[in-house]
């Protein structure tokens, strides 16, 4: 059930009415949240309900046990927390990577001359497993790090794990930030709720008017790259990061908006990534809830472990972290290469001491970005687009064939409809980001007017209704 479908609208209206009838009765609201979250998940894939239910129950008890150890014996607590984290990760490893490991080993053995007759079987991956697993792992590790207490209220914990706006594709909320919200009266002040409506509409706009429309062009080129040359492939490569951004930030903004309408603050996921001046800054602005998670649980432990190796230790920690980011997206070497590519781009930044250095955009005359900053933004964008070409490809050989195809000549221009709509919509998106980045007084969708008098919002809704694509399309990150 996509956020931009009629079915979801009806589902949400029912949830919203029932949920807010019980204002100030947190426990009942948590029950409603839990029931609707399981309903939402069950409608998508009923068979997978036992997976999330069993994992939730198991992690609830693991959390209590870890807390027990933390109070008595640090070493035992550490060992048990590691065991618990692995236990939480096992279903993800099985559903997402089992066939990949088997295939890779079979290929390795046959390359070495051994005859292998290992066969794999079809495994259906539960939707959203990459996202709710990370919520569970974060929970057990935070208790062990004494950053939070184990949750006693099972319903609140289960509602956190299955929270329907975020279960399919994030953002990945941290338990120590999200769970306390479920224990208190929900925010219902006017500006908090109306901001939620605006974020939802903005996400809906970038999804249906930019990502879906742009996707038609990008898919047409990449799925038939043999028919095109440098011109169309080049344009598709340059458009794909924008499509991803419009799609995934669209989903995230809709999730944050729905969360706000339930009186809950959901984690930020994007901060105008294409204004980044280098790749390290790009990762501080892109899919923030995932990179923050990996920084805390992969990068930091590795960096601490390798701390006596100096820059080499830092490079190792960064590269391993980014390869993990890559493989998190799926069991394919293309994702691993995508991560490695980014990891290698960090090396010059580490060696020059610029990795964590805050960059500042110079605004000429107060409103124009300086050419030097523009150049850095452009270079970062090109590097990101190149890495995403591998990310988008079905296999490494397909990625290299796509690149090779660019050297066959300019080729023809891919002709699909809707270009004017997505280009116009894209200008609105870029204008909004530009205004927000520059902290100008005027910002699209930040008026103080009541919703029904907010002309910008009304115009945007009318635009969406007229110019959205015909079919409801899945969000890209649902597959991860």
């Amino acid at each position: 059930m996509e956020f931009n479908s009629i079915n979801f609208f009806l589902f949400f209206v029912a949830f919203f009415v029932i949920y807010h009838i019980f204002y100030k009765r947190c426990k009942i609201q948590n029950w409603i949240l839990l029931i609707f979250s399981y309903l939402f998940y069950g409608i998508a894939d009923l068979k997978m309900i036992p997976v999330i239910a069993v994992m939730t129950i198991m992690t609830y008890f693991l959390g209590l046990k870890i807390e027990d150890f933390v109070q008595k014996d640090d070493k035992k607590a550490n060992r048990f927390a590691m065991f618990s984290a692995v236990l939480c990760l096992l279903p993800l490893l099985y559903f997402k990577y089992f066939n990949f490991f088997i295939d890779s080993f079979a290929q390795l053995f046959s390359a070495l001359g051994f005859n292998t007759e290992i066969s794999t079987f079809q495994i259906l991956m539960p939707l959203g497993i990459s996202f709710f697993t990370f919520r569970l792992v974060s929970y057990v590790l935070e208790i062990n790090r004494r950053k939070m207490s184990a949750e006693r209220d099972f319903v609140a914990f289960a509602a956190y794990v299955a929270f329907f706006p975020c279960i399919m594709a994030g953002p990945i909320d941290r338990p120590n930030k999200f769970l306390p919200q479920l224990k208190t009266v929900r925010k219902t002040d006017y500006s908090f709720l109306t901001e939620g409506v605006k974020m939802f509409v903005w996400g809906w706009f970038t999804k249906v008017c930019i990502a879906d429309r742009m996707g038609e062009y990008v898919d047409a080129v990449f799925n038939n790259y043999q028919d095109y040359g440098a011109l169309s492939i080049g344009i598709a490569t340059l458009l794909y990061p924008l499509q991803m951004y419009a799609d995934f930030s669209g989903y995230s903004n809709m999730a944050i908006g729905i969360g706000r309408l339930a009186g809950l603050e959901v984690a930020e996921n994007f901060r105008r990534p294409f204004f980044a001046q280098n790749v390290a800054e790009y990762w501080r602005r892109w899919h923030i809830s995932l990179t923050g998670w990996l920084t805390d649980y992969v990068f930091m432990p590795l960096n601490i472990k390798f701390r006596d190796l100096g820059n080499l230790g830092l490079i190792l920690a960064v590269v391993i972290n980014l390869v993990t980011v890559g493989f998190w997206h799926g069991a394919n070497w293309t994702f691993g290469f995508f991560g490695l590519f980014h990891g290698l781009l960090f090396i010059p930044l580490i060696l020059s001491g610029k990795m964590n250095k805050k960059t500042k955009i110079t605004w000429l005359g107060g409103w124009l970005i300086s050419p030097k900053n523009l150049l850095k933004m452009g270079l970062t964008y090109l590097l990101v687009a190149t890495a995403l070409l591998f990310f988008r490809s079905e296999s490494m050989s397909a990625a290299f064939s796509t690149i090779a195809q660019c050297f066959t000549g300019l080729g023809s221009m891919c002709n699909v409809g809707g270009k004017k709509i997505f280009l116009f919509s894209l200008m609105i998106l870029l204008a909004k980001d530009y205004l927000d980045e520059g902290k100008f007084k005027f910002s699209i969708l930040k008026t103080e007017k009541p919703l029904w008098l907010d002309l910008q919002l009304i115009a945007l809704i009318i635009f969406i209704v007229i110019f959205r694509g015909d079919a409801v399309k899945e969000f890209i990150y649902m597959q991860f």
Partner: protein
């Protein structure tokens, strides 16, 4: 070694590593309170503290600190 002595020695290390003479540490200080204290300088601080006090922390110890006070307690425990 008294905890107050450890705190003043650690403060000196912070000022040196983060290149900011105005840093004043208290038990409740966290990374949010000092602009230069990020994930990378955190590791540099740990390496410098370990070298200065001739001690070695475990990863679990480092990851469990919530503020400077907990770090000082940990150093004090190691020196005892």
């Amino acid at each position: 070694m008294e905890k107050s002595e450890i705190l003043s020695q650690v403060t000196e290390i912070f000022r040196d590593v983060l290149d900011n003479e105005e840093i004043v540490l208290a038990d409740t200080t966290t990374a949010n309170d000092i602009e230069e204290w990020d994930s990378l300088s955190h590791i540099q601080l740990i390496v410098a503290i370990e070298k200065d006090f001739k001690i070695k922390f475990t990863s679990a110890e480092i990851l469990s600190w919530k503020n400077v006070g907990e770090m000082i307690d940990n150093i004090s425990k190691k020196l005892a």
